[in-house]
Amino acid sequence: MKLSAILLLSVVGLCAVYAADVVDGEVTDDGPKTVQEEESLDIGASPDAGLAFHFVQPADANVVHEFYTGKPVKFLIGFQNKGEKDFVVKYSETSFRFPTDYNYHLQNFTRGEYNRRVAPKEEVTLDYGFYAHETFAGRPVGLVVNVHYQDADGNAFVNNVFNQTVNILEDDSGFSGETGFLFIFFVALSIGGLYLANQFLSKLSRKSGLSKRRVVEQGTSSEVDFEWIPRDAVKNKEKRSPVAGSPKARKTAKKTD
């Protein structure tokens, strides 16, 4: 009875320390965490592989775990071969999970295909990037990044390099079409309002103010002011106009001449 209690205590202590490890940015080969995947329950991490994870963009994502929608999120995965045999890093798998139930996939991103051979005592850096969709704005999601790799004998391994809840924020730094058009609409509305007010005020002032004498047009005066008409145009007018009548009539007139 007592022994079992002690065993339980030690196991709990172990778990607590491991749980504290999650906060750390770097994740190394610890098996229990990878048993997250339902399809790869039997596949774990290799003890000869060391993995690291680091966000490049946005720069503060490593600390605050916040992304903006519509902006690229880029991260690096470091793979270290500590063993004696070659490893081949096949691909990385990135997905958004429901934050309270990580078995529920919200979105699976395209695999990052690498197929890179890592010789013993060598390291390789792999990169991946994605955009968080607008529909995730303003809510937390679980981001899970798994790396799949093989050793020289063809044994498959999976390492979980990132498994935390991240906050997705709405990007309001750029120009939003909605507010932009709203602004244009209000400007147009105010200009229209000013025009209408001007019309109304001028009507009022016309009614009350001194009314101008109404000018009544009485046709053009017979006097023609020749001053503004260029001289050559006036001369042209004085010239005899061409013979009236249709060309046919003119022809007959010529014949009679």
Partner: protein, 188 residues
Amino acid sequence: MKFSLFALLAVAVTCADVGTQTKDAFVLAHKQPLSTYAVENMDFVLEYGIYNVGDKPAQKVTLDDRHSFPTNSFEIVKGLLHVHFEKIPAGGNVTHSVVIRPRAYGFFNYTAAQVTYYTDNENLHVTLTNTPGEGYIYRQKEYDRRFAPKYTYFLVFFALIAPTTLGSYVLFEQSKARFPNKPVKKTT
């Protein structure tokens, strides 16, 4: 009984220690082109980032990318393809950029750069960056067709529309000259 309890606790703590021990320097290096298009005889900007995600500083960090850009097909305009950083502290990062100029057009495979560093002054680590992959280096002509300012096109266009615009302007000027502006006399 008490002894066994302590022993078990000690075992548990040491086991856990393997997982949470302070890690050596772990350097991640990435390489990415900053220019959208690679064009022959035009500048192409590359950026290298070196991140130390370990808990100890990385010593004698060297970045070498000379083999990916052979000088017979690339001209180095600015920057060095082989750089050395004495120390990158834990959690620190370095960015390095190089401007190169491709000499020929065609497909080109951008391979990984090599980064070497020491942990504790004796353990040499060799890291390869990510590979940006195969990219196309555009011909200057193709690039100009898409992006160059097309001054000759505009000149030809102006020459084409000159008869309709300049011609009508000249006609307007002529008729305007026929009607000199005189002070208007008030009639009635």
